[in-house]
């Protein structure tokens, strides 16, 4: 099932500046796993060490939040769009960019 995963601006630098990635996936989880396999640095930003999606990142299948569907087990179909939406706040100088290592 070809689906499109939209990469939000804050994460594009970890996905070779791609704004979206197409992949074949049967579930949302499959699509995200393929994305983070192709772009390993993305994994740390999307997932915690114990494999859960980070709490400041939301994932939508088309326009539905997967938390209210079947989480990563939500099945996808041809032409679906998966959108990753991290929280953004605009520009206070207090933030320091950190490497996640």
């Amino acid at each position: 099932m070809p689906v499109k995963v939209i990469v939000p601006t804050p994460l594009r630098r970890f996905a070779a500046e791609r704004s979206s990635v197409e992949c074949e996936a049967a579930t949302v989880g499959d699509a995200l796993r393929q994305l983070t396999t192709s772009y390993r640095e993305l994994k740390k930003h999307l997932y915690t060490d114990d494999g859960r999606i980070r709490s400041f990142v939301n994932v939508y299948l088309n326009d539905d939040d997967i938390r209210f569907l079947k989480q990563e087990q939500t099945r996808t179909k041809d032409g679906d769009t998966i959108t990753i939406v991290p929280s953004i706040a605009g520009g206070a100088d207090a933030a320091r960019l950190r490497l996640i290592v």
Binding site: I88, A89, G90, G91, A94, L97, R98
Partner: protein, 393 residues
């Protein structure tokens, strides 16, 4: 669903001849008319932040005739703000933002009441400040304040018109609408500090907050009028580069700790601690354990002929603005390019202001580098203290 009329000011309002002429383009619209314009006149809106988002917000709400506008900001106008904070002019640099904005907006519309609150919004003052206003608009630039605004609005039952931006992307919605989700329904926890770069580090295209702030102003007017469909329950996503607007559904989270069925948050908390910022450095000074060298010390060592390897951890486009002829490895690429560095050489790492390079030094120390220093204050401090011909940006 309009704002319940009992939350609007009780004193009956009318429009004088000048107001009727000023707002005539509203009055001739059947969707607004005298009734709508009077609702605007009776409305009290509090803008938190008078920066990039606050600029179009303040201007359009002033132009629309919102009866009372509160402007909350503790900051002063900086030269780098002028690229996007269009309320301010060059002469305002150095002035308090809330006061400069109040003056500009009063000139646009002397008929409305504009109150400047030169203060930092905190858990101690938020509830008291918010209680007299009908709508709160979030034009802030940091996570702790966004959570504070959200929590205060939910506790007081006020709508929170939310907008946020990053580089070329924006988000907008209305939280705290009756029956609708709050910010914590969407994001129960903030990102760890430093994960999402600030405008100073990540940059932002100046027009972007102009668009998102204007959307927030539109939503505020709609809430006051009770017109159209507010963005409550929808998150508007704007990609300026592709010029795409998309929408995703926002649902109230039944497990939300603030507005859910079994809420655990019943009062305001320490938001800096919640966001992990308590104890973080907020100035250019680096954390203990990061060895640093001042620009003058660095210059002295170079003049002496010391064999120092200069590592520049900025981005390529920054290197083009100005550089110290260092070896460029952007911070994000450092883990995979660390083999380009020689542990036997003395390395001085720098960035623009000393923050990213401090992170680089910390990373390299963990990777086994022992002869590594952070240039304190970065290339900005180098320009200030050693070579003023180096442009600051």
């Amino acid at each position: 669903m309009p704002i319940p009329t009992d939350t609007l000011k009780k004193t009956p309002a009318s429009l004088n001849k000048e107001e009727i002429l000023r707002y005539s383009r509203h009055l001739i619209m059947p969707e607004i008319g005298m009734e709508g314009q009077l609702k605007l006149k009776q409305a009290q809106v509090l803008l938190i932040g008078t920066g990039g988002l606050g600029a179009p917000l303040g201007m359009y709400l002033t132009a629309a005739g919102v009866g009372r506008l509160g402007l909350v900001d503790f900051d002063v106008v900086d030269f780098t703000n002028l690229q996007r904070q269009i309320t301010f002019s060059t002469q305002d640099v150095g002035r308090k933002k809330s006061e400069a904005a109040r003056e500009r907006l009063s000139g646009m519309n002397p008929q409305i009441q504009i109150d400047a609150f030169e203060m930092r919004l905190t858990s101690e003052n938020a509830l008291e400040l918010f209680k007299d206003f009908d709508v709160i608009v979030d034009g802030t630039d940091n996570f702790p304040t966004r959570y504070l605004i959200n929590d205060a609005c939910v506790l007081l039952g006020k709508p929170n018109v939310y907008g946020s931006i990053f580089r070329f992307e924006g988000q907008a919605t209305v939280f705290g609408y009756p029956g609708g989700p709050c910010y914590r329904c969407l994001y129960p926890e903030p990102p760890p500090p430093g994960l999402v770069p600030s405008c100073a580090e990540g940059g932002v295209i100046g027009v972007l907050p102009g668009i998102v702030g204007a959307i927030q102003a539109m939503e505020t007017v709609k809430l006051i009028l009770g017109a159209g469909d507010p963005l409550a329950g929808r998150l508007l996503l704007f990609d300026a580069l592709g010029m795409h607007f998309r929408e995703v559904k926002l649902r109230k989270n039944p497990a939300c700790q603030l507005c859910g069925e079994h809420r655990t948050i019943t009062k305001l908390i320490d938001y800096e601690e919640f966001c992990g910022i308590r104890g973080e450095e907020t100035t250019v000074a680096v954390t203990a354990g990061i060895p640093e060298v001042t620009p003058r010390e660095f210059k002295a060592r170079l003049d002496r002929g010391d064999d120092l390897f200069i590592l520049d951890v900025r981005e390529p486009h920054e290197y083009q603005i100005c550089n110290l002829k260092g070896h460029l490895i952007p911070l994000g690429d450092l883990p995979k390019r660390v083999s380009e560095l020689d542990t036997s050489r003395e390395i001085v790492a720098h960035c623009r202001s000393g923050k990213r390079s401090a992170d680089a030094v910390e990373f390299l120390q963990k990777a086994g580098f022992r002869k590594i220093w952070n240039l304190k204050g970065g290339i900005l401090a180098w320009s200030d203290e050693v070579d003023p011909t180096v442009p600051k940006y």
